[in-house]
């Protein structure tokens, strides 16, 4: 690796920026096809009802209307599938009810798709939708976990008694019970992980087309994983073979997990385009996005930690109830299980860990992955509990963590994962130093002099990223492999196209992957283009989520480049009349070892395509594809510190400082990595201090727009202190771990621990997320009687 100005490790400015900065990005809603019609999705206004009947005649007669389709029209088309089968403790499979794309007989949440109205213009479709007469026969709704599990609760699905989807466990219960029997101390905690709305700033959109000449469907859609949509939509919903279904995810304006799932609207639009023989376009309005984009989190947990007399962790027992919403979205079932329960060792040597999770159906928007997906929930619980243990045992918050750190690698946790590498002391030390932890008491006194309460909080964490080894996840119920593909095409003139099955929607893959390839091949950075987001161009892919793109997709590209080099050596050997074993490749040149005889990659590429003088038996062309299936998860880790100042009169929490000390493995582009950390931190701070999706008891969304769902704004956040200590991942050639979710995993407990630290002098010892001003004010009032 040359390490030049655009190579691995350089903060190269992004290739994608010029188009975004000049308004030339091409997002789904920017695309228009000749002859297109507009679809409007009519959504259920009630949380739970039988559909007595639907009269579409008035809507059909409205100006410009071409069609109105309801669930009955789509009957017989496959339902929306889910991607992960979970088994309960007793070995039984989860309850997996049908999910018709358009509601059939019943609606199960406010926002459920009831009909599509297709018209000449967007406004005509929307106005005609008001004329669809649906006979909703209201049923009692369950809008929360508490309501779903109550005696006599309404049933979201008849086949799911008690609204339970599964009752799952991981870890050794007997060993954990034994640990508690021998414990000197037991510390318990109850926590709620607040439900969030993802809110990528680009609303979802789609445009579907059917070409009768080729019988091929094309769907442009706001997706993080176009091939996954093709798999689910083609194989499970519409029954289309891959070569007749093209999915294009062009520029996508943020995802954060909410653009992973295959959504009903994608199926409805594609099917409708086939029925009408014309392109159909749909763009979600924000107000509908709140009630149709999958939500995140929504757990209620109770946990206890067993410790010996010195504060060493002996056992951890976690009991969680998770809300899955009204239907099982693509990754809904694995988020509160395999992305959650297996995280509970954290960075600690706790020898016995047991976690049980019961997941419920409710009359709410389906819940799926959201930045961090399961790992923020686990980290929040664990780091709140560790802080509470320190407080109850009278130990220092830092020392109790240090006392329990894993220091020998590889480390086999009691909950399935094997950590390959890490240095938790190093990131802790770095964070303490960068946050001036030692100087905090002086700052607390300074705030107190101004009538403010200052607090500092810490969280030390690991995450499991780089999703995922296919055999492992397959044995746990995943219905797809989670490898990635990469192709590298060296053109005859020496420029390079890189094709990746991951998808960039803000992460800067077009830059990072080009850095890797240009560095490895010694070609100019500007001569490398990265292509993503089109199933017709890219061999295969599983997309971008779970901080997997670089660790899995980047490795696939790395391996494809190695294949290119390997083939190039054969061609070069022929040109240089040397044996292949003697050919070395460095900085874009193939050289006969120990000589000055060399040829360039460009010459080799030209020869590959104009093979007049060419090795016998070797195929022409210089293009290679690699599929990489990771050997293990990757384990980014770090320490986050938050410092807050509370106004005791109003309860307002001001976040005054945020420090991250992270080990994300090798950093390809420090500028991009810092940006990913910033964004994750803001997302996590949003969860800790501002964001909360609230349902009324009747299943109406109380926080259904930006008027009442608080998004973090510039003035809500401080500058972030970002620091790195790197240990390399041992099982991928780049040594990379992943960074996209770090902030949202690590920071929420640090913020809440800081708020509690600030309020302890007033007698407040607990705080729920989000720590809004009202919640803080109430806690203060309650503590003061």
């Amino acid at each position: 690796m040359s390490g030049n100005g655009t190579g691995i490790g350089a903060s190269v400015k992004r290739k994608e920026d010029t188009r975004f900065l000049t308004g030339r990005g091409r997002y789904t809603d920017d695309i228009n096809l000749p002859g297109q019609l507009y679809g409007h999705i009519l959504r259920s206004p009630v949380a739970h009802a039988d559909i007595g009947g639907i009269d579409t005649s008035a809507a059909m007669a409205a100006p410009g209307v071409h069609a109105v389709f309801t669930g009955k029209d789509m009957e017989g088309v496959g339902g929306i599938p889910t991607g992960w089968l979970i088994h309960s403790k007793d070995g039984s499979p989860m309850v997996e009810p049908a999910h018709p794309a358009l509601a059939l007989g019943k609606v199960r949440y406010v926002g459920d798709c009831v009909a599509i109205v297709v018209a000449e213009t967007r406004e005509q479709a929307k106005e005609a939708a008001n004329l669809v007469d649906v006979d909703y026969r209201d049923l009692p709704a369950v809008a929360s976990i508490e309501a779903a599990e109550a005696n006599g609760a309404a049933q979201v699905f008849d086949e799911a008694p008690g609204n339970v989807c599964y009752d799952w466990e991981v870890g050794d219960r007997a060993a954990t019970d034994a640990a508690f029997e021998n414990a000197a101390h037991v510390v318990s905690i109850d926590v709620v992980n607040n439900r969030l709305v993802p809110n990528a700033i680009e609303p979802r959109a789609a445009i579907a087309n059917f070409d009768p000449a080729t019988s091929e469907y094309t769907l442009y859609t706001t997706s993080q994983n176009p091939h996954l949509v093709r798999l689910l939509l083609g194989a499970f919903v519409l029954g289309l073979p891959e070569h007749k279904l093209r999915i294009v995810a062009p520029d996508v304006g943020g995802g954060f997990g909410s653009k992973i799932p295959h959504y009903a609207e994608e199926a409805i639009l594609t099917w409708t385009a086939g029925r009408l023989g014309r392109p159909v376009k749909w763009t979600c309005e924000r107000i509908d996005a709140f009630k149709s984009d999958t939500h995140g989190r929504d757990h209620i947990s109770t946990a206890k930690l067993a410790l010996d007399a010195d504060g060493k962790f002996l056992g951890l027992h976690v009991t969680t109830k998770a809300n899955l919403g009204a239907y099982l979205s693509t990754f809904a079932t694995c988020v509160p299980t395999y992305l959650y329960g297996i995280l509970f060792a954290g960075p600690y040597t706790t020898p016995a860990v047991y976690c049980e999770v019961k997941s419920f159906f409710t009359n709410t928007v389906p819940v799926d992955a959201l930045r961090g997906a399961g790992r923020p929930e686990a980290t929040y619980l664990l780091e709140r509990l560790v802080d509470k243990a320190a407080h109850e045992l009278g130990m220092d918050r830092v020392e109790i963590r240090r006392k329990n750190f894993v220091r020998e690698f590889p480390y086999q946790t009691p909950v399935a994962l094997q950590y390959d590498q890490g240095d938790y002391d190093a990131t802790l030390d770095l964070a303490l130093d960068a946050s001036d932890w030692a100087g905090f008491e002086a700052r607390r006194a300074e705030s107190a002099a101004r009538g403010k309460l200052r607090g500092i909080g810490i969280s030390t964490f690991i995450e499991a990223c780089g999703i995922a080894p296919s055999a492992v996840v397959g044995s746990l119920g995943a219905r797809a492999g989670l490898y990635e593909s990469g192709s590298v095409r060296v053109h005859p003139t020496g420029s390079v196209s890189v094709f990746t099955g991951t998808h960039s929607h803000g992460q800067g893959h077009e830059t990072t992957f080009a850095q890797i390839v240009s560095d490895m091949l010694g070609v100019d950075f500007d001569a490398v283009d990265v292509v993503h987001g089109d199933s017709a161009k890219i061999p295969f892919g599983m997309g971008t989520y779970g901080s997997r793109s670089l660790a899995v997709g980047g490795t696939a590209i790395y391996l494809a480049v190695e294949k290119v080099i390997e083939k190039g050596r054969k061609i070069a050997a022929h040109l240089l009349e040397a044996s292949v074993e003697d050919i070395e490749f460095e900085n874009g040149s193939f050289t006969v070892a120990g000589t000055d005889r060399s040829t360039s990659l460009g010459e080799v590429a030209l020869t590959a395509y104009v093979p007049h003088n060419y090795p016998e038996g070797l195929e022409p062309g210089l293009e290679e594809t690699a599929f990489y299936d990771p050997l293990n998860f990757t384990f980014p880790a770090g320490t986050h510190v938050a410092e807050v100042e509370v106004d005791p009169e109003t309860g307002e929490v001001e976040l005054v400082a945020v420090t991250g000390a992270d080990d994300v493995g090798r950093v390809i582009n420090p500028m991009i990595v810092a940006g990913q950390l910033h964004g994750g931190l803001a997302h996590g701070i949003g969860q800790a201090l501002m964001e909360e999706c609230v349902y009324q008891d009747d299943g109406q969304l109380a926080t259904g727009s930006y008027l009442d769902y608080t998004m973090p704004r510039a003035a809500d956040l401080p500058n972030f202190s970002i620091n790195h200590n790197t240990t390399l991942c041992t099982h991928n050639p780049l040594g990379v771990k992943g960074v996209g979710e770090v902030g949202s995993i690590g920071i929420p407990p640090a913020v809440i621990n800081a708020v509690i630290d600030a309020l302890r002098p007033l007698g407040v010892n607990d705080m729920a997320m989000p720590a809004t001003s009202q919640r803080v004010w109430q806690a203060i009032r309650q503590a003061q009687g």
Partner: protein
Amino acid sequence: MNDFTYHAPTTLNEALAALGAEGAKVIAGGHSLLPVMKLNLAAPTDLVSLAGVPGLADIADGGDSVTVGAMCTHAQVAGSAIVQARIPALTAMADGIGDAQVRNAGTIGGSVAHNDPAADYPAACVALGATIVTDRREIHSDDFFQGMFMTPLEDDEVITAVRFPVPSRASYAKFANPASKYAIAGVMVAQGPAGVRVAVTGASGDGVFRVGEMEAALGESFSAEAVAGIAVSSDGMLSDTAAGAQYRAHLVAVMAKRAVAACG
């Protein structure tokens, strides 16, 4: 949004004529009206723009009062040297409305006519004892703000200006909804020719209201300590996900105290 006929009159008389149509409404900056029209909560058949009517966007110093034209944007008020010199509390209030783009387009006339219970201007008008000037009459703010979204304006009546008496001192303290940035509790305190006034927006379901007990206490002694002990009842307070009635009542008291303290 339902469609409508758009009128762009160039004189006030033309505007008034166009407003004669059943279902017609005035549009100023559109920042109160268009959002409710998008939600189909209003569906006027005709929109009559005042943008082309001359003389409605001036700010004039009348000695003991400042007159702000109805079409003045919040940014214009916030940036006015006259307002800054005579009623700095109004400058600060206008500078805290919505966000920069809202302030660039939203107008005082539109805000006052809409009488949103969480808007800032009603508190300023009532505390300062402003007069709402229309094409046909002058209405004192005490008579103008009649509860949530309710005013005495006729369907075809046009606000042309708002006249603020210059106070000897005034200040506005707002606790904003963290999501919408509208007021949860916005308190304007003013001492002027009409005595001390404490007007509250954002908190009550009935819109802007005055706190008599605080006004009396401040009349005795204009100091933060004078209002510090005065609790505000939570009866009739709004309650939503951001702030329940009790919290709102508490915030009114805190904002009042801070506004008084900021008066200096």
